[in-house]
Amino acid sequence: MPGEAAVLDAAPVRGRSPAAETLGRLLHHRLFVSGLVLFGVILAAAVLAPVIAPADPTRIAMRQKFLPPGAGHLFGTDNLGRSLWSRVIWGAQLSVLMGLAVVGLNAVFGTAVGALAGYYRRLDNVLMRINDALMAFPAILLAIGITAVLGPSTGDVILALAIVYIPRTARIVRSSVIVVREMEYVQAARACGAGDWRILRRHILPNSMAPLIVQLSFLFAYAVLTEATLSFLGLGAVPPTPTWGNIMAEGRQYMVEAPWIIAIPGVALMVTVLGLNMLGDGLRDVLDPRLRVQQ
């Protein structure tokens, strides 16, 4: 019948995929876009570090110490005459890489633990007891404790932050998996004879991703902030490797004569965290309307 065919043809109204739809809504979200711009600046600095900051961030030039920001040295120099521009830019690269590593580890292991706990009731009890105990420790104290025993280094800080934050991510994934597990389409898939692995991978996980993505953008912010705090306390990457935290720790002694040594990396850190928090708020509003903060 011609009428029926016309109805079927008319079904997809406009050719926008759900992904394009979401992206469109994100790009109209003012907070998300502002966050994207702020974090974009830091990301660009991190990626382009070798191009825009060719001066060695560890090169000492005692004759040029304590130069204030201005021509020649855009961000000034520190107590050893090292270019703060180079140090802050390379610090950005380290912060972004560390944040990405922590986020990546959380995405993999947090999802795995959360999905297993949420899907298999038998595992749930055991996994969540361990989770609860790890979450009982205040995040930064546990991170400090772990880096204290492992010794200060970039890799150990990443490991510590992963151990601290994976239980938190796992809990979020678990709670959305538990909801999705009971959905009718999951039962339908099971009735069709799909195995556990297929159901988890094809049906449950793709439908429980929204809260995880939101969590990961906030997690990126926490990870960068906690890493800076640890290296400020002397527990992060070992000097002379520049991190925002250890630049500020070194600058602390000279904060009256040369306040720019602590001011500039602090601003960079704040811009990063602010940008990521705004991104997270935007993602939450668009992807996960249930958690929406009333606008």
Partner: protein
């Protein structure tokens, strides 16, 4: 209520057991030999053996575990290498400092966080609301140690209003305490102020949309009564749970703040323990702080149950 309390207390037992097991395991995460890390390169084999013996590492794992729990039950958390003093004693000594600082910051957090959150909700989508939300966003994004350093430069060095650091106990001189604790408390509180303002605002907005608020307005209740007695009282219930998170953040944040302002509390103790690889002190301090916070959170849950009877019924 008694039943609810007991139930809640029982759930803490496995958590505390796991927490203590994790802290016990921490020293076994030290790569290689902890006593070698402690003694340094100059240590003689005899000194290393002595250190191993002091840390109890020369015994089997099971004996160590047994002694650890036996000690815990006696309130013995081992001896600090750095201070030559019992870990429990050293920690408890510094507890009042950290607690008074955290309490001060908590008061600031509650006053400022609730006030700004309520203003934001009542003046939704106005300039005042946007200012509140911006302030809250900055609050959760500013690194507290950085803010602390900037405040020291401005208020202590340039203006000379407050000391750059140090600590005077409240019992010694209330005014001295106020002078030394104000900057640390503000820098410590800002993150939580932002957090609380955001949550208060959204909870208030949700409550203001409920039917009983419309009823209260419809029966002609003055706006102040509607907000104060109906909206706020109901919005406060979910906010109570957030206070637990706030306290956890305050106490753990004090580690950094105390270091910046050289305040002799648990935070500074832990930092120096870590930098000196004083493993027993790190383990003990971590365990005491965590156990304390687990108990605080039970207390908060109880307040929650007292405020909202539905929670008690659900638990049955």
């Amino acid at each position: 209520m008694g039943r609810f309390f007991l139930q809640r207390l029982l759930t803490a037992v496995p958590i505390l057991l796991m927490v203590s097991l994790i802290t016990f395991g921490l020293i076994h995460m030290v790569p290689g030999d902890p006593s070698a890390a402690l003694g340094g390169l100059s240590a003689t084999p005899a000194e290393l053996a002595q250190l191993r013996h002091d840390l109890g590492l020369d015994r089997s794992l099971w004996v160590q575990l047994w002694l650890y729990y036996a000690g815990l039950l006696h309130g013995d958390l081992g001896r600090s290498i750095l201070l030559g003093q019992g870990v429990a004693q050293a920690t408890v000594q510094r507890l009042p400092v950290t607690l008074s600082l955290s309490l001060y910051a908590l008061v600031i957090t509650l006053l400022l966080g609730l006030a700004t959150g309520i203003v934001g909700a009542l003046r939704q989508n106005t300039l005042a609301d946007q200012a509140v939300m911006m302030f809250a966003m900055f609050g959760i994004s500013v690194p507290s140690f950085w803010l602390a350093l900037l405040m020291i430069i401005l208020f202590a060095v340039k203006l000379g209003w407050l000391p750059t650091g140090g600590y005077v106990p409240f019992t010694e001189s209330p005014l001295g305490w106020l002078r030394t604790a104000t900057m640390p408390a503000i820098s410590l509180a800002l993150l939580q102020v932002g957090l609380l303002a955001r949550i208060t605002r959204s909870t208030m907005l949700e409550t203001l949309r409920q039917d009983f608020i419309r009823t209260a307005r419809a029966k002609g209740l003055p706006g102040r009564m509607v907000v104060g007695k109906h909206a706020l009282a109901n919005a406060l219930i979910p906010i109570t749970t957030v206070v637990g998170i706030v306290i956890t953040l305050l106490v753990s944040g004090s580690v950094v703040t105390e270091t910046v302002f050289s305040i002799p509390g648990i935070g500074q103790l832990l930092t120096s323990a870590i930098l000196n690889r004083d493993y027993p002190l790190v383990q003990g301090g971590l365990l005491i702080m965590t156990a304390l916070l687990v108990l605080v959170n039970i207390g908060i849950d109880l307040c929650y149950a007292l405020l909202d009877p539905r929670v008690r019924y659900d638990a049955r």
